[in-house]
Each structure stands twice: as structure tokens, then as C-alpha cells.
Amino acid sequence: MIHNYLLLSIILFCLGIVGVISRRNVFTVFMSIELMLNAANLAFVAFSRFHENMDGHVLAMMVMAVAAAEAALALAVVILLHKHKSKLDTNVFSLLKG
């Protein structure tokens, strides 16, 4: 039944939000964002199956492309920050605080 897929998607999305809010490790925060993208993908594919047209599949592919671009850029930024501060704590990265 389609409701189960949507409920699973909600659970995964909420776990992603919890990870972003509560953790301070850069990698964990980043992977929690990826988890939220995956939950959105699951909802897209489930609704696509529900309506029996395939627009959701195309949208899921685009989300994957966005996630790939995001991963490349975010990891480059993490490497630069680690070079500067040699820490992985998001509380340390407050360069824009003014």
C-alpha cells in the first residue's frame, strides 16, 4: 500500500532533520542532508507509482544529479576548511560571524 512508502519517507526525512540539528560533525550533517534528499526521492517515486505516470522518476533523477553536484562542492569546501582549521566541528566554522 502506498501509505507505507510515504510514512517511511516521512520517518527518514525527520531523521535527517534530527541529524542536521543535533550533530556537530560536518560529515554527519552532510550525510543527513543526503538522507533528506533520499526521503524526498522515495516520496517522488511512490507518488509516481500512485498516479501511474513517470514524471516522478524524472524528478528523482534530477534530485540525484543535484545531490552529486552538492557532494562534489561540499566535500571540496570541507577539505579547504579542514586545511585551515584542522577541525571537523561545525561550531568552529564561524568565519562569517562578523
Partner: protein, 191 residues
């Protein structure tokens, strides 16, 4: 395109084989869902990002299984190849490249408190979404026997109706490529 309300499949007058198939699919769904949630909880709770990445891979692979259950064949393959293959190996490569020792990690003594607080914040949003989902009409999920979600059908849709967003995504990938080269190629003299 057909839109709301979706076609409602009446469940077939169950031959024994059909009922068995549906039971098998339900079992698979339950397995994959439990594995996905366990992996996500592990991602949130593990202290070292390497352990978190490994449990996140479990989540991604079980999500691929769920896509297969939803008869999204192309997305199933892409999830395994692009997500669990490319993106996660990139992340794990970077985690290994930085050579993180346990005392480099941020000290999170109040982690459980923060997790509890964020659950309290997130819970109303989640319950609201659950209430929305409960109000949807009930359809049964059977395996689509035609070519739903195959490479040819999704490709045709992608290059007919979704051509402009596709091109925009290609520009996005180009921009991120240039950005990554500029960020990573910065030498000490240019500072």
C-alpha cells in the same frame, strides 16, 4: 497526463498465487523499511563519520530495493550506481583522505540532549505529514506488468517533456565542476 484522482485498482479476486505474491512483497517492504530506518538511526547516532557512512550505505541499498518494489527499474539501477556507488564512495574517500583520529572529532557530550530536543521540534511536523498521508485515498500496489519505469519510457519522457530542466541540470553540473576545480586548485601563492 492523468492526474487526480488516481485510478484505483481493485484487488484481484485472489488466486492463491497472487495472494502469495502480495504477501511476499509486503515482507520485502517490511525488511527494506526496517533496514532503512536502522541505517538512518545509525547515521544519526554513530560518533565516527566512517561508521555513519557505512550505515548510510545500508539505508541507500534498502531504498534501492524499495524502488524495485515500486517497479521503478531505472531509478533502482541509478540509486545503486550513482548513490551507493559514486556519491558514497566519494564521501568515504574524503573521510579516509582526511585521516580522522578519534580525538579530532568534535566532543559532543550533550548529543543525546540535542537529539531529544530536535525530536521534540520535529515531531509536530512529522505528525502533521502523517495526518496528510492518512487522508490520501487507498490504492493497492501491484507490480506493473507493462514497461512502467523502464529505461526507454523514462528516457522518452525525459527528452520530450523535461528537456529544459534536463539542460538546466547539465548547466548545474558544469558550474559545480568549475567550482570544485577552482576550490581544489587553489595554491598557496594565490591567497
Amino acid at each position: 497526463m492523468n492526474c487526480w484522482p488516481p485510478k484505483v485498482h481493485l484487488p484481484k479476486k485472489s488466486t492463491k498465487k497472487g495472494a502469495l505474491d502480495i504477501m511476499f512483497a509486503d515482507g520485502l517492504f517490511l525488511t527494506f523499511a526496517v533496514l532503512a530506518v536502522i541505517g538512518a538511526v545509525g547515521l544519526v547516532l554513530f560518533r565516527h563519520p566512517m561508521n555513519g557512512a557505512m550505515s548510510f550505505v545500508i539505508t541507500l541499498i534498502s531504498l534501492a530495493g524499495l524502488y524495485a518494489l515500486l517497479s521503478a527499474k531505472l531509478i533502482f539501477a541509478l540509486q545503486l550506481i550513482v548513490y551507493a556507488g559514486a556519491i558514497m564512495s566519494l564521501i568515504i574517500f574524503i573521510i579516509m583522505f582526511l585521516n580522522i583520529q578519534p580525538d579530532d572529532l568534535p566532543k559532543e557530550e550533550t548529543k543525546l540532549l540535542y537529539i531529544l530536543g530536535s525530536i521534540i521540534v520535529v515531531l509536530p511536523i512529522g505528525l502533521f505529514l502523517v495526518k496528510i498521508v492518512k487522508s490520501l485515498p487507498i490504492t493497492s500496489v501491484e507490480f506493473m506488468d507493462n514497461n512502467f519505469g523502464g529505461v526507454k519510457e523514462v528516457g522518452l519522457l525525459l527528452f520530450k517533456d523535461w528537456l529544459v530542466p534536463f539542460e538546466i541540470v547539465s548547466i548545474l553540473l558544469l558550474v559545480s565542476l568549475i567550482g570544485a576545480v577552482i576550490l581544489a586548485g587553489k595554491r598557496g601563492t594565490s591567497k
